[in-house]
Symmetry: C2
Subunit: 214 residues, 2 copies
Amino acid sequence: MQTQTSSTAMPSPTKKSFKAKMLEAREDAIIQSVNRLLSEKGFDAMTVDEVANEVGIAKASLYKHFASKEDLACAAMVKVMQKAQIFVRDCQAQSIAPLDKIKQVARWTMALQLQGQMPSLPSQNSSLRATLMASKDYMDGLMEITDVLGAWIESAQNDGCLNAELPPIAVLYTLFARACDPVLEFLQMSELYSDEQILDMVMSSCFNGLAIKK
Amino acid sequence: MQTQTSSTAMPSPTKKSFKAKMLEAREDAIIQSVNRLLSEKGFDAMTVDEVANEVGIAKASLYKHFASKEDLACAAMVKVMQKAQIFVRDCQAQSIAPLDKIKQVARWTMALQLQGQMPSLPSQNSSLRATLMASKDYMDGLMEITDVLGAWIESAQNDGCLNAELPPIAVLYTLFARACDPVLEFLQMSELYSDEQILDMVMSSCFNGLAIKK
DNA sequence: GTCTATATAGCGATAGAC
DNA sequence: GTCTATCGCTATATAGAC
């Protein structure tokens, strides 16, 4: 990624800052479009032409910002990951029960998906996967979130308020899976319920289960 | 789809049957490969060349059996749908509680995914989606399953053993979503648990919920 | 129906002018 | 850094011989 913020020394700091902000704003616009498209159709079906058209710049200009389609998608997913890190840290700082922290994160990720900002995860052997695994920013974010969530899960199980039949890793993976659960899209397409209602229903089925509590 | 089983009248019925069986066997082999690839990498990433290579025939020969890549994938998904219809009918015939029928179907679809035979569902605007919606076999199967599952769900809710916070359609969509739940793949890749253990865990989180029953 | 060889199109990526 | 124009590759689909 060649996002060098102008390497030469500048006479006017204000002008440099302005240019840098313009650049950053454009890259933010690009990344926002990419996340929408990644969420809507996935990495394979998304084309670089689409991204360029949606942002309103030429495809060649896109490649000045990002070296490849994989890098482009990776940058977008890193952005989401960083937003998630911030949210998780905020939850961590609150003095509430671990289970409630877990619920807050689950609801937040689902809301993100309903807003079309959660990229659908790439299949095992996608070229994107290799790029993600090689991205320090992405892996660091993933590890931080995994560690924090893992600690919450263990605490909640010690408190006796998490399903004891499930090992912590199964709970963790389930939370990740719920972040891209297609049931959200199904219910949204049915147009029968508001986003809030959908969140309530999916949270209930996730934490309370489909079967009735006895 | 031009699967015409030889339109001219034949002198020897046994020979015709034999040829038809050979044809059917080949098409079954094709469809099996397609389902594996659809499950592994999805429709977009799957190439017709891959399918041809895996089956061991030329690509042009594939196009004699199926008019397009979409038709090819559609035929594979219809096959899975028909297997599901048969399983659902078998459950229907059993004299067990509706909730147990629902659980049997859920477990069966998850097992199918663990075996790599459950195609991952296409994104909204995929070209495959239009083909599926236009396929009578596919839509008929989907409707039959929807109707039967819907009846079970209502019965189970009347019996008071299904989460009352969820409208029937939310339960139905959740069951469909669990059939392609990525958590199965995650847990399988971790190599920590057997397929049976994975099924037990995911069934528990699906029906009992992540949180503990109080 | 099966093959080899090829047409056609879309997409990722780049060249080169400004 | 932005553009237009184009390269090069890959993948769907087809032509035509056998």
